[in-house]
């Protein structure tokens, strides 16, 4: 076994990519502002400096470890250099912490405190660059430390590259192409850049005020829905371990705030399973528009509309669970309860920033009113809970309201990558084989890698599935399909790493794979302890069909639960206008 020493202690090497990882393995929290395990190494912040005997001072993040290295992480010189690096960043930083939504959750603030920066010798740069608040993600370049994490996550994980470094020297900023407003770019609103940004330079637009206004409006009946992934993550904001469900406390908290009904979006995930499987089986039988792509991730939908319009017919026409439930509430439930559309206010609590964009799409309105009036992210709701000052983990557990409160394990696992496929398989299996499915676990589609595929033999028929998270992987599947390298029948796409559990609106720790895996395990656990595991066996779903929608795929179901897509192009001209595309 090869070894090296860190501050005099022996450390075994086990394939770590760089010295920073080794030092951290040795239990030393070396500071860093531009390094992320899941992205390429940038090496610009100089905070991870260490001394290596015979080599001097190097940046640990881009130094490969070697056996026998003698590494020191504490010396007066290192201390001085780190403080200087921090002071340089702070001298160019808008240090209005009290009004910054990342305060208390900001790596820069944290390091300034950790290294005892009390006085900055350098002259403060007073530049005031314009803030871009055109979109769901708000960009404040005055808080940007040029770490490039957003640049890399958007191009490496999402394959889009909305942001990049532009200009140079002291004028360098991270910006969009041609300094366009973010809302005019190909940004799919996934929020991953804001989640990974160490500072308040990229933050999610807060709609907390609007939520309070509605909750305190005596003329409004506020109806809330909670997405699957929220229950296993919001607790992290209150010292509950990741993965532990706090669904019951969430319902209680929302009732305290003034919500009149609290529903579970896992219910409409069950509906999605019925509609989407029905659609899938029809396509398999007619061999048309295959593969079928899932459509519950609005970031993926926008991506497809922008970059792969030729595949829009392959997208399932199902609305996402958020929009299905919003539509049912506004079109049917309200009437049944004697509520007028204008008196209902539907708030959904989502792990997702793109859901804010989705809710505003004109396809999702009933009589000109949005089906979902407001989308709050997990983080926003956590803020509201902190505002009312309750001891969240200690709240009593309340069950969600009926009729949209009864859910199955299949609906709950929608929040984790592979979950939609597994839920669809639990129904598809029974439909295609006419047999009752006994073992509901499809381990083939579980896992956290960005691109997984498998073949399933059902009744002599082979189904080829791909499960994708991260749009770079979606791009790969699509390009390979175009060249005929691969063939699939069903492709599940989630934009965020790990699926919605890693959504851009989740507590900031979601950039950590270990945390995501715990949240995922939490959802699988919820499935395991659920009394019902198959969407088709959800009695409330059966009722809804009997009462309102007749059967999956009916005209009524289409009007309420399905949608259409449109090609969008943010560019003036593209290569498609000529015959000059990239070769396979």
């Amino acid at each position: 076994m090869s070894q090296l020493t860190v501050n005099g202690k022996n450390v075994e090497l086990n394939g770590e990519a760089n010295v920073l990882e080794v030092v951290r393995k040795a239990g030393i929290d070396l500071p860093s502002l531009c390094y992320h395990q899941e992205l390429t190494v940038h090496g610009a912040c100089r905070l991870c400096m260490v001394e290596i005997e015979g080599r001097g001072i190097v940046a640990a993040c881009h130094t490969p470890p070697e056996a026998g290295m003698v590494i020191n992480t504490n010396s007066l010189v290192l201390r001085r250099l780190r403080k200087m690096a921090l002071e340089l960043l702070l001298a160019r930083h808008d240090r209005e912490c009290t009004t910054c939504s990342r305060s208390g959750n900001c790596k820069l603030q944290d390091l300034a405190e950790r290294f005892g920066i009390s006085d900055i010798q350098l002259k403060q740069d007073e530049r005031k660059l314009p803030i871009d608040d055109s979109s769901i993600i708000i960009r404040n370049p005055n808080k940007c430390i040029l770490c490039g994490e957003c640049v890399r996550i958007c191009s490496e994980v999402q394959g889009i590259g909305v942001l990049d470094f532009v200009h140079r020297g002291s004028k360098m900023v991270v910006d969009t192409a041609f300094s366009k407003k973010l809302s005019d770019t190909e940004c799919v609103n996934c929020g991953q850049c804001a989640a990974i940004c160490p500072t308040g330079a990229l933050v999610i637009r807060s709609q907390v005020d609007q939520a309070w206004d509605a909750l305190n409006d005596p003329d409004k009946t506020v109806i809330v829905q909670i997405a699957p992934a929220v229950r296993v993550s919001i607790g992290e904001e209150f010292n509950v371990p990741a993965g532990e469900s706090t669904m019951g406390q969430l319902v209680s908290a929302l009732k305290i705030m003034g919500a009149s009904k609290v529903f579970d979006t896992s219910f409409s995930a069950d509906l999605t399973v019925l509609e989407e499987t029905n659609e899938f089986i029809q396509r398999v039988q007619s061999q048309e528009n295959l593969p079928q792509f899932t459509s519950c991730c609005p970031a993926w939908v926008k991506y497809a509309e922008q970059f792969y319009p030729e595949y829009l017919n392959n997208l399932s026409s199902c609305r996402s669970p958020q929009q299905m439930l919003g539509s049912l509430i506004k079109k049917y439930y309200g009437k049944e309860q004697g509520l007028q559309t204008k008196d209902m206010y539907v708030i959904s609590v989502m792990p997702c920033t793109a859901k804010k964009f989705e809710a505003a799409r004109e396809e999702f309105t009933t009589d000109g009113v949005p089906d979902v009036d407001l989308v709050l992210t997990t983080q926003e709701l956590a803020h509201m809970i902190k505002e009312i000052g309750v001891d969240f983990p200690a709240l009593p557990e309340t069950a969600p309201d009926q009729p949209f409160g009864r859910v199955t394990g299949a609906g709950v696992i929608f929040g984790v990558t592979g979950g939609v496929s597994e839920a669809v398989l639990r129904l598809g299996y029974e439909k295609l084989t006419n047999e009752k499915l006994e073992d509901v676990v499809f381990s083939e589609v579980r896992g956290y890698n960005g691109l997984r595929s498998c073949e399933l033999k059902l009744n002599g028929q082979t189904l080829r599935l791909a499960v994708v998270n991260g749009l770079t992987n979606a791009n790969k599947v699509l390009e390979d399909m175009k060249c005929g390298k691969v063939k699939f029948d069903l492709v599940e796409v989630m934009a965020c790493p790990g699926g919605c559990i890693g959504g851009g609106g989740q507590p900031i720790t979601n950039v950590n794979r270990r945390v995501r895996v715990k949240r995922g395990a939490g959802l699988y656990n919820e499935d395991q302890i659920a009394p019902v595991h198959k969407s088709q066996e959800n009695p409330a779903v059966k009722d809804i069909y009997e009462k309102w929608l007749r059967c999956p795929g009916s005209k009524e179901a289409h009007d309420a639960l399905h949608t259409t897509y449109k090609e969008r192009n943010a560019r003036c001209i593209t290569v498609a206008a000529t015959d000059h595309g990239k070769d396979c």
């Binding site: 910006d175 192409a177 190909e186 003036c572 001209i573 593209t574 206008a577 000529t578 000059h580």
Partner: protein, 173 residues
Amino acid sequence: MNNTDQIVQDADVELSFLSSVVKENGNQPAALIPILQMIQEKYRYLPKNAMEFVADALGLSPATVYGVATFYAQFSLEPKGKYVIKVCDGTACHVRGSSAVYDAICKRVELVDGKSTTKDGTYTVETVSCLGACVLAPVVTINDKVYGEMTPEAINIILDTLEKEGTNHDQNA
């Protein structure tokens, strides 16, 4: 003379030209800089939609192309005039009267409001630091042709000649 047709509006980028440039240089990301150079040579700046086209053809994001275009001083994102006049304002040239030459040019071509390109798109006037030809100070370059020992009078004569050539050229065309 009428030069409005010389000002390339973004909408006027020729797809066939862009295609041929990409074909000539290949569609690998490494070809980006030579491609941008050729586009700049033709249009005297980098039109936005040309950059988007190149991004698409090379499989890069428009932001990356924009990043490269703004990194190198050789690229211009604004349309430049048909004649790019650079007046050296290095120490030697400054001492020997480059400001008077600069002022004379601006007055002659009617540059106003601190703009560097004339309304009709004929001239862009810029000051630059030492051009390395101090013995000839003050130095002016017009489309990279060097003119030494300039005075306000001399530069006016040169511009007269240019304009005459320009008109002849327009008539021939």
